[in-house]
Every structure is written in C-alpha cells, then in structure tokens.
C-alpha cells in the first residue's frame, strides 16, 4: 500500500513529506506508548499515534519508519513537523480515532507485521 492510499483511506491531510507519498509500505503499528514501539516493532513503516511530541518522530526515525499518522484530529506543532522534515518522514493527520484508523488500513491489507525477536 502506498502512503498516498493510506491518506485516502483515512481522509488524512499530508502535513509534510509530500515527496514520500508514493512509497510502498508493507506493515504498520498503532501505539501511544513509544517504549512499546521500540520494543516490539519490526520492519514497520507506519506509526499511527495519538501522542503529539517530538519523541514520536524520533521513535519513528529510530525504527527506520517512513510515515507517522496522527489520529483523533490532532495536529502537531511546527517544531514536531520541522523535525519530521529534517528526517524525511511523511506526516499525516486524520480525524479518525485510533481503533477505526487501524481497522480501515488492516481491512485493506496493511497488516501488523512480525514482532522483534520472533
């Protein structure tokens, strides 16, 4: 699935990293707990979260992710977006709630991927 398709499915606005929307992604995860993302996520390219701080971007960068989706109509501050730009991440904002957003993507074939260490 492309990031563009994710934006369509979630009726999301592209806040930055427009140049990356045609990249193909194979799995995603949803979490507000960054430590869990750092512990359990393997080869996942998209992070859906309701948390709005620079650590979300840094966590995504650490995990070599390509896209962050802020759910529940949350829009990050310019500092967060500037950090995302400097790391070449695509950032989307959707009005969907976490459960619904994850469900819509899963239904269309974007799965959760493997756990680290399995």
């Amino acid at each position: 699935m492309t990031i563009r398709k994710i934006a369509e499915l979630l009726d999301a606005e592209v806040l930055c990293g427009e140049e990356g929307v045609d990249r193909e992604v194979k799995s995603a995860c949803g979490s507000d707990m960054m430590s869990d993302v750092l512990a359990f996520v393997k080869d996942q390219a998209v992070l859906l979260t309701g948390l709005l701080n620079p650590q979300v971007i840094r966590t995504a960068v650490m995990m070599d992710m390509q896209c962050v989706v802020f759910v529940r109509a949350k829009v990050p501050g310019e500092d967060v977006l500037a950090l995302a730009r400097s790391c070449h991440l695509t950032v989307l904002a959707s009005k969907e709630r976490m459960y619904t957003a994850c469900g819509k993507l899963y239904e269309q074939g974007l799965k959760g991927g493997e756990l680290i260490g399995d």
């Binding site: 707990m33 430590s35 750092l38 512990a39 840094r58 960068v61 650490m62 995990m63 070599d64 500092d79």
Partner: protein, 148 residues
Amino acid sequence: MEIKPLVLHYEVSGDNFTGAGEASVAMKRELRQMGFDANVIRRAAIAMYEGEINMVIHAEGGVADVNVLPDRIEIVLTDEGPGIADVEQAMQAGFSTAPDNIRALGFGAGMGLPNMKRYSDEMKIETEIGRGTTVRMTVLADSPKNSF
C-alpha cells in the same frame, strides 16, 4: 566500505524532555554515513535513545560517549543522577519509577533498560546511590541480533 574509527561525544541536556533523543538521531546519521549495516545502526540507535530518555527522566541529563570501531559500536552513558537502588529490579520489563507525566509522553513503561539490553550485545551498569550511573553498551557489527 572500510570503516574508520571515530569518537563521538554528546551532552544530553536534562532541561526538558523535548530534546531527549537528539544525540541518538545525530549518532544514527554518523553511523549511516560510515556505511554500517542498517540493523546494526538501528540497534545502536535504539539502545542509546532509551538510555538518553532515562538520563533525562531520572538524572537531569548526562553525557554520551560513542566509540565507533569497524567491528563494534561502544556506547557509554554517564550521569550524575540518583543512582539505581536495585539494578535487577530495574531490569525487569514493566518496572518503572518514572512519574505519571512521563508516561503521558509515551515513556516510563519500564521498557527502557530491558530494551537497551535487548538491542545491545553487551551491557554493563555501574551505579552508586547519590553519585550516578554509568551504562556501557556494545553493539557488534556481526551479531545474531542483526536478524531482529
């Protein structure tokens, strides 16, 4: 690509949580430019990131010294914080003394030290109550953990 030894030093400010992780992002960029395998870079970066977060939450910051060698990355995190009372307990997944405001920021779930151990090939903790903590981690270029 031949990897030349490199020494990196970062000050980790304890002033605010916003800046936590800057050193890890900077180190990650350096390692990428040097041509390390992506899995090695990711393991080193996550291990150091969790360590940085810990220093900001618990010790009002500290310093990170990174020694990059062709076959390994050695990371030493040093702080002058309160020390860890029971290292064995702190190593247990889910054990945390972080305040609620840190949990609201996505950390403090008691996964920091376990994650650091999980992603590094060697980890040693030296700590003294009231004096501070030093965490030494080694990430090997050739490791079974690269298949994580």
